[in-house]
């Protein structure tokens, strides 16, 4: 079996339960190398659970999930850690170290592959620094390289987070709502950067999104989740409004204010 044809991620008959609640229930799902996939769905649909299951942070209750050739249910801890190092994660809240500089934050991406003891003293190898610098250039933050992360804007911080993942040199990049904290224009820019970076490093990108419009614009495959099940798995162009309704159908938005007739306030909806 040629390595190129083996799926990067393979999910079969996967069930993940949190107590009584079924968080994920997927019969067949496969991601191939180089794909850029957007996962959409309402809150609670299981998008984050799926991403964490791929990363190996959540154990399947039953079924199989195989990432980079390793079955999460049957592998030992050491093998799991080794494969997890090849999977990068980007978070909605960035999760940078606020008091460290951009460079130091990006160097943290090398922690899994550099000399452990030396890193504790802040010493990274010349190769680490080169990789970090190249990553910083890729996201366009050369000027801010010695600036503290908590002095940067939201968009810049997410770009540092992207650089940190690039420095990790992963084969799979998972992004959990990476642009939900950014305004739409900035979000589109950051997504575009994320995709460029993924293609440049020949990685596979799986992206949770709250904004179907962004998904349609940027990815080459959309997976729609609803109540833990896949309700759409196709190219973005076939994602019609009806299909979208299917994904978000019957979703009860949480009312922000009570419908208090005496006060005359209207229900505001927390949107999808």
């Amino acid at each position: 079996m040629a390595e190129r044809n083996a799926p990067v991620i393979l999910v079969e008959h996967l069930r993940i339960n949190y107590g009584r609640r079924v968080a994920l229930c997927i019969d067949q799902l496969r991601f191939d190398r180089g794909e850029c996939v957007g996962i959409i769905g309402p809150s609670g649909a299981g998008k984050t659970t799926l991403l964490r299951a791929i990363k190996g942070y959540v154990r399947p209750s039953c079924g199989k999930i195989e990432v980079l050739g390793l079955n999460w249910s049957t592998c030992d801890r050491l093998a799991r850690r080794r494969v997890q190092r090849r999977i990068g994660l980007i978070f909605q809240q960035f999760h940078l170290v606020p008091r460290l500089t951009v460079l130091q934050n990006v160097l943290c991406g090398r922690l899994g592959s550099t000399h452990r003891l030396k890193s504790l003293f802040g010493r990274f190898s010349a190769e680490d620094r080169q990789v970090a610098w190249r990553a910083i250039c890729e996201v366009g933050l050369q000027e801010q390289v010695h600036q503290r992360a908590d002095t940067l804007s939201g968009g810049q911080q997410q770009r540092v987070a992207i650089a940190r993942v690039v420095a990790q040199q992963p084969e799979v990049i998972l992004a959990d709502e990476p642009v939900s904290n950014l305004d739409p224009v900035l979000g589109a820019e950051v997504l575009s950067l994320l995709l460029d970076v993924t293609k440049h490093h020949d990685a596979t990108l799986i992206l949770n999104l709250h904004q179907p419009a962004l998904a349609k614009r940027f990815v080459n495959r959309v997976v729609g989740l609803r109540d833990g099940k896949i309700v759409y798995d196709d190219v973005p162009s076939r994602l019609t409004d009806d299909q979208l309704q299917e994904v978000y159908r019957g979703y009860e938005p949480t009312p922000l204010y009570r419908d208090d007739s005496t006060a005359g306030r209207s229900m505001a909806m927390v949107g999808a």
Partner: protein, 221 residues
Amino acid sequence: MSGAPAIVRFVTNMMPPDTTGEILAIGWQSALLTLQVALLGTAIGGLFAVMLGLLAANNLTPEWVHHPLKVLLAIMRSIPVLVLALLFVGAVGLGPFPGVLAIAIHSVGNLGKLFADECETAFEGVWEAMDSAGANWWQKVRFAVWPQVAPQIVSLTLYRLEMNIRESAVLGLVGCGGIGFYMTLYQRSFNYTRMCTMVLVTMVIVLAVDQLSVQIRKRLT
């Protein structure tokens, strides 16, 4: 209230403070010893407090590690420094050494708890981000926790030092030497003017260190 005239008499007996060169020299040297005891005790205590405080944080270590440690730290700080010093003087004899031990142990208990509290403030996100990059426990502590708690740790240690200097002055009462020893010596031998000098020297040193500490802590954040 019947003690009021006695107090007045006591205070007038103390005045004016004895400022002869010999007494001032004694005051100065013993104050230096007191300072050294406090510094050494705080340094040793601070070092162990950082190690134990980290391990005692409930978000960084498993239950069987952080729970007993928290109990240990509580015990260490519940015994007053004076009592600890008494115990150690009994164990190792008179001198500054038991004073250093007493201050160190009490500081570990005190600072250790404060450090653990600092570490417990939410780091979960950054901790997970480091884990995602492949970091082990030590690297996660070094990069996700340490940069954020370091300023507070230094600040808290300096604050503890201020208090330890005051404690150290008092420890002379139980045989640890330093200015506390001379204060009680002169008090018991009715040399109130000399005792007054010792008290004033102590005040000056404590105030000076307080001020210095405030200045340093201002520059920390």
